[in-house]
């Protein structure tokens, strides 16, 4: 199904702005990889349950006790544009 990989559509979904050079390089590589993973089509999996997680772990609960956490400033200082206790981003609503 490699012909169906529309690189512009997928890049937009992935929030990646690829350059034309990148698209030219990536497209044939991805086509080759998708052709290869089509190999799974030959497996009969009609009676097979999917495995999402390898261990028989279901929900893990704990008491909802407040714990000491790191100061807000430790996290805000990592941001490229912190602003008065918030993260500054470009205008969202036009």
């Amino acid at each position: 199904m490699s012909s169906e990989l529309n690189i512009d559509r997928i890049a937009r979904l992935a929030r990646l702005k690829l350059t034309d050079d990148e698209k030219q390089k990536l497209a044939p590589q991805l086509a080759k990889i998708v052709d290869y993973i089509d190999l799974l089509g030959e497996l009969d999996t009609s009676d097979v349950e999917p495995t999402a997680h390898i261990l028989p772990v279901q929900n893990v609960f704990r008491e909802d006790d407040p714990v000491k956490n790191f100061p807000e400033a430790d996290y805000l200082s990592l941001a490229p544009k912190p602003d008065k206790g918030h993260y500054e981003v470009p205008k969202i609503i036009g």
């Binding site: 990646l16 702005k17 998708v34 097979v48 999917p50 495995t51 490229p80 981003v89 470009p90």
Partner: protein, 487 residues
């Protein structure tokens, strides 16, 4: 005085420190001098934390003077740079994280520090652990200490090279599809990928969350057991860490292997394996027989689907995990953004390297509307079949043995432009992550060109003890793990 050209094993270091043969400070300084001498050629590290290491070593010496006997007290470790260390850069070798410094330690790092370890620095990797050569590092490649024209393997190539070049006593790596075992094999060191859930993933930057595991990379199987005792066990901060008993792994080292059954997967010795690799692994199997182990041929019939299954599932999980790099909370933000969408797209375009983009695109595709069932769900079903292969095989044997990689260390740039060929070389290591079982690489030979070859040992879930027993007995019978490159 510690010898700067020859970092001791972890066990030796602990014994020497206890006997005051040298101090923790002298040992740490000797590792730092070794880095000064070889790092320009090997480039195993992204960041060397010289001052902090010296402070930690002095603190260790004070603890030693008080009679403290913690298992890693005074032992200089290298940490893969996708494992968070408070106050030191944790960058995953990605420009998108820049000089990110984590506000907290990974649980494995926290446990190592409490056990007295000294952290020398952060080691190189393929960006976000995506790759098999460390060439996908966004900062610089690392070179194989055995042959500087070759790759150390990946993605934990920096940790493997640092151990092989004696730039640390031991290291931590991470393994999502072979990223501990394959570089261990390429660099002639010991590496263990524990059972999924054995070691907390808290503070390990997520690549593929259902496959990732942190593990030890060491000079010997003994050292790996000591490190596992420290880093393993349930952690309330990682709900996928398993609530199972933690044995003392060092107790498993000296058990007898006589009468144990070792399964040889037929599918791991087919076309495509390098003849010198095959010979080294077959000789290692003969050594196991000479120790009294019985061999039995087994089949893992879905092996041919493993690479496809892995790249569907790992890329799908990666595309979701890496959506957090949006230029808002940390890391790189573009200068060129008029609106929010442009900020996301340009920050990610500028910050991620080529392999990471390739995998995000592939992962987004297999999860996208109309393709989810054909790829992602199909991959999860194939994963069940691969897991069952191991369950069937372990009905006939205690442990499996085979190669880690069909080839010895590649030349730099040899496979960089053909990602499909690169992915296919992961064939022998990815199934264990899909099945969640523990697997270990131990050095088992060298090619004529003096490149190390590793033997891979695999055991059922939570049976790391079996790997320690067999690996240790193998190292008692051989001396490949005592061979180091001249630099």
């Amino acid at each position: 005085m510690a010898d700067p050209t020859n970092a001791p094993t972890l066990l030796q270091a602990r014994e020497d420190l206890k006997n005051k043969k040298y101090s923790a400070l002298e040992l740490t300084e000797s590792c730092l001098r070794r880095m000064d001498a070889v790092e320009d050629r090997v480039q195993a590290y992204l960041h060397i934390s010289r001052e902090q290491a010296i402070e930690q070593a002095k603190a260790a010496d004070e603890r030693i003077a008080r009679g403290d006997d913690a298992p890693l007290l005074g032992v200089p470790l290298a940490i893969k740079d996708n494992i968070c260390t408070q106050g030191l850069p944790s960058t995953c070798a990605s420009k998108i994280l820049g000089q990110f410094k984590s506000p907290y330690n990974a649980t494995s790092v926290d446990r190592a520090l409490k056990a007295g370890a000294v952290i020398l620095g952060k080691t190189n990797l393929d960006e976000f652990a995506m790759g098999s050569t460390t060439e996908n590092s966004g900062i610089h490649p690392t070179r194989n200490p055995w042959d500087l024209e070759r790759v150390p393997g990946g993605s934990s190539g920096g940790s493997a090279a640092a151990v092989a070049a004696k730039e640390c006593v031991a290291a931590l790596g991470s393994d999502t599809g072979g990223s501990i075992r394959q570089p261990a094999s390429f660099c002639g060191v010991t590496g263990l990928k524990p059972t999924y859930g054995r070691v907390s993933r808290f503070g390990l930057v997520a690549f593929a969350s259902s496959l990732d595991q942190i593990g030890p990379m060491t000079q010997t199987v003994d050292d790996a057991a000591v490190l596992m005792n420290v880093i393993g066990g349930k952690d309330p901060l990682d709900s996928t860490s398993a609530d199972v008993p933690m044995p003392d792994f060092t107790q498993a080292l000296n058990r007898n292997v006589k009468g144990m059954k070792v399964g040889i997967p037929r599918e791991y010795f087919t076309e495509g394996i390098d003849p010198e690799v095959e010979t080294a692994v077959q000789n290692a199997i003969k050594t196991l027989q000479s120790l009294g182990m019985e061999t039995v041929e087994v089949s893992l019939p879905h092996t041919k689907y493993a690479v496809a299954t892995y790249y569907i599932l790992a890329c799908a999980e990666a595309s979701a995990n890496l959506s957090r790099y949006d230029g808002v909370k940390y890391g790189h933000r573009t200068e060129h953004a008029g609106n929010l969408m442009e900020m996301y797209e340009n920050s990610r375009e500028e910050g991620f390297g080529e392999e990471v983009k390739r995998r995000i695109i592939l992962g987004t595709f297999v999860l996208s509307s109309g393709y989810y069932d054909a790829y992602y769900l199909k991959g999860q079903k194939a994963r069940t079949l691969i897991k069952r292969d191991f369950e069937e095989a372990f009905k006939q044997c205690d442990v499996l043995a085979g190669p880690n990689c069909p080839l010895p260390a590649f030349k730099l740039n040899e496979k960089l432009d053909d990602p499909m060929q690169m992915y296919l070389a992961d064939i022998y290591t990815i199934s264990m992550n899909l099945a969640g079982i523990p697997a270990m690489s131990v050095p088992c030979g060298q090619t004529q060109g003096k490149l190390p070859v590793g033997l891979q040992l695999m055991a059922p879930h939570f049976q790391e003890e079996t790997l320690f027993t067999v690996g240790k007995q193998f190292q008692l019978a051989t001396d490949f793990h005592k061979q180091f490159p001249t630099l």
